[in-house]
């Protein structure tokens, strides 16, 4: 595989981590990371949705919006595509894999409002990626999201609220943990092959 394509995946996942660096997908990152199993399931669903959404958005943009000069409609079109995709994934999972569907519960529709999905589609447009690059960028980003949320879930499983000073309990300590994770991930900055 072309080196620059690998770089797109690595950059999306680690160097410009979508959560710890670009601050997309924070709401579910902070909320869902309470439970490890939910985090893994959400991560998997996100990878699926973002990769396909990036592909579809890329096609729509290049073959419909740009030729018609309607680039300004991209936000609406993208978000509708994402909403539709999530619906499809939901219906698909309900029929083919009810156990996974049950374990994901309310997190699945949540992906629609996950800033990361829309953010990736818009960034792809901004970077002028072609179709393959869009798909890989989406995939890399989603993998990065999954890595971040799973790591945070692991860390949170170790945090015992009773040990934390009272004002820090709940959101603040999770954000401090995220800050430390973000510091660690800055080690990937500037990495290039």
């Amino acid at each position: 595989m072309n080196k620059s394509l690998i770089m797109i995946i690595v950059a999306g996942a680690l160097i410009n981590n979508v959560v710890l660096n670009q601050f997309l997908g924070i709401c579910s990152f902070l909320g869902v990371s309470k439970q490890m199993k939910a985090s893994i399931s959400l991560g998997g669903a996100v990878i699926f949705v973002i990769t396909i959404a990036s592909a579809v958005a890329s096609l729509l943009y290049d073959f419909i919006l740009k030729p018609l000069g309607m680039e300004f409609m991209k936000t609406i079109i993208f978000i509708l595509v994402i909403a539709a995709l999530v619906q499809i994934v939901e219906m698909f999972l309900k029929k083919k894999s009810p156990a996974v569907y049950k374990s994901l519960g309310i997190y699945l529709p949540l992906i629609t409002t996950n800033c990361a999905v829309l953010g990736v589609a818009l960034t792809n447009v901004q970077n002028g990626y072609n179709f393959i690059e869009c798909v890989l960028s989406g995939f890399g980003t989603a993998v990065g999201y999954t890595i971040a949320i799973v790591l945070l879930a692991g860390i949170r499983s170790r945090i015992n609220e009773k040990d934390i000073p009272a004002p820090l309990r709940g959101a603040p300590i999770v954000m401090i943990a995220a800050a430390l994770m973000s510091i660690a991930f800055m080690g990937f900055g500037g990495l290039s092959f």
Binding site: M36, K37, F72, M73, I76, L80, K94, K95, S97, P98, A99, Y101, K102, Q126, N127, G128, V150, L151, G154, I155, S157, R158, I159, N160, D163, I164, P165, L168, I173, I176, A177, A179, L180, M181, I183, A184, F185, M186, G187, F188, G189, G190, L191, S192, F193
Partner: protein, 525 residues
């Protein structure tokens, strides 16, 4: 709760007769050789850094416990060890507020906020060090001996220069305070023989690192090169004293091995392909992030997951498909259509203003770079020259994804040409496109650059807009090379520390402009 009594929590795992204070004392003593060598070699200031760091650590822990109404834990010695470890990883020439800030962050944020010893998930000393690296990048990278700063051996190695292996081993080279490999090994091996640290961790870290460097470093298994890589950049210190911290490393033997190898490999990866020579600290704390996962999955059995266990139990899936198509789709389509019409309206209203805005901004920047010009006129066949020289929307080769947008002749009041201005975009910026206006005088020398589009990171890439960087381009008239550190020769541009991507994008854009001028515009005349 007396820290000297038996500890019933899950981590750290304290052996029967050995209490936390005892272990901390042994670790402290094992670091003494390196500390003493460091202070002797680097002088009083180094000793001051060590002292200040330890005191700050102990004081902040004491103060935090007091404010949080918790029992005082400073007597377990862990704050002292954290302070010492942090100091040993710092350059001996830092101003004293740096170790203070680092220690306070390490103790308060990385450790106390989570509940104190045994409850943190990240190595406090390294968290503090990385905090300092990000906050004070330039200062942290200054290593001065007798007031003259020069590169560390590791930085030299990365640049391909020769290093003095003996001086690195003894600790007399230009590096951090705790850089005497000999002294560190003495302490580390003592700890290992007393079974206070696990061999699985330190040796798999060293092994993983060495293997990666051997495979990808370009010099194969050359022992001198490998030794030089190992002796620099905090690898030995990290392997023996940081990665092995009980609290932040996995419990199981297999887990420790995986953890150690990961740290070693990451260390090698960052050393060879990263932008900073000083990145081993990051490898260890990334390893720390993995510890909870390793402990969850390596010790216990994986989840027993039976596929399709609940298939057929969901009543909804048995409804025929056509009954599930919602009628309100019509309502949704109507709303979407109205929205589309409204948007087109606003778009057509604002489109011209937006275009005019962009043109005005470009004109502004042209004026900046060609101050004496009265107006700008189109060059004959400019459009053809531009499109002819671009392939797939990119100009030339070796300038990255760069595009010449427009080129004009700058003329004075009398209509005489006094130079050229160009608008150039590089898509290789860190955060999107970087667009510059480049001005050239009648001899093809750069008069200046101005940014019409720059969305880089504030404090780093955005500093390209400062005179100290922009000003370097004045007077240049050939394709430029970017260098780290200082630009000594003509045609060299010093990159912004920590913003190599932005610096490269800007330099490439300027080079492309100069190249275009020399080959396409002048060539046509």
């Amino acid at each position: 709760m007396d820290a000297g009594m038996m500890n019933l929590s899950s981590a750290p795992h304290v052996r029967d007769k050995w209490t936390t204070p005892f272990i901390m004392r042994v670790v402290f003593l094992s670091l003494m050789p390196a500390t003493i060598v460091g202070c002797v070699v680097y002088g009083w200031h180094a000793a001051a850094i060590v002292a200040v760091s330890i005191v700050a650590a102990v004081l902040s822990e004491w103060l935090f416990n007091k404010i949080a109404h918790k029992p005082s834990t400073i007597w377990d010695g862990s704050a002292v060890v954290t302070g010492l470890l942090l100091a040993l990883s710092l350059s001996p020439s830092l101003p004293l507020y740096i170790p203070i800030i680092g220690s306070v962050f390490a103790i308060v944020v990385a450790k106390c906020c989570f509940g104190g010893l045994g409850k943190n998930f990240i190595n406090p000393a390294l968290a503090g060090r990385c905090f300092l690296l990000i906050s004070f990048g330039r200062i942290m990278n200054t290593f001065a001996v007798d007031g003259i700063s020069s590169a560390t051996p590791t930085a030299n190695l990365a640049a391909g220069k020769a290093v003095n292996l003996t001086s690195m081993f003894l600790g007399t080279s230009n590096a951090v305070i705790g850089s005497s490999i000999l002294a560190l090994l003495v302490g580390g091996l003592v700890l290992w023989s007393m079974d206070i640290i696990h061999g699985q961790i330190c040796f798999s870290v060293l092994g993983g690192f060495t293997l990666f460097i051997a495979l990808f470093g370009g010099q194969g298994f050359d022992p001198t090169y490998l030794a030089a890589q190992l002796c620099g950049g905090g690898v030995v210190m990290g392997a023996f004293f940081m990665a092995t911290d009980y609290v932040t490393s996995p419990v199981s033997r297999l887990g420790q091995f995986i953890y150690g190898c990961t740290i070693g490999v990451l260390g090698g990866l960052f050393r060879l392909y990263g932008s900073a020579a000083d990145s081993f600290s990051y490898s260890v704390i990334i390893g720390n992030l993995l510890t909870p996962l390793i402990d969850t999955y390596i010790v216990e059995k994986p989840f027993a997951y039976r596929k399709n266990a609940l298939r057929g139990l969901d009543p909804d899936s048995r409804k025929p498909r056509y009954k599930r198509i919602p009628k309100p789709v019509i309502a949704l389509t109507v709303i979407a259509a109205i929205a589309g019409v409204a948007l087109s309206g606003v778009y057509s209203m604002t489109k011209d203003t937006i275009e005019a805005q962009k043109e005005a901004a470009k004109l502004e920047s042209y004026k900046v770079v060609a101050a004496r010009a009265d107006s700008f006129r189109a060059i004959e066949k400019a459009e053809e020259m531009i499109s002819g020289s671009h392939e797939n929307g990119v100009y030339g080769s070796g300038f990255g994804r760069v595009k010449i947008n427009a080129v004009y002749e700058a003329v004075d009041e009398a209509g005489n040409p006094i130079g050229t201005v160009m608008s150039i975009t590089s898509s290789d910026g860190f955060d999107g496109d970087v667009t510059i206006a480049l001005g050239l005088d009648a001899d093809g020398k750069v008069t200046g650059i101005a940014f019409t589009e720059l969305h880089e990171t504030p404090g780093m890439g955005m500093r390209a807009d400062e005179e100290s960087f922009k000003g370097q381009f004045g007077g240049q008239d050939s394709v430029l090379t970017l260098v780290k550190g200082e630009a000594k020769n003509d045609g060299e541009i010093a990159a912004i520390t920590g913003a190599s991507i932005t610096s490269t994008a800007v330099t490439n854009a300027v080079s492309a402009g100069i190249h275009f001028y020399q080959n396409v515009i002048k060539g046509a005349n």
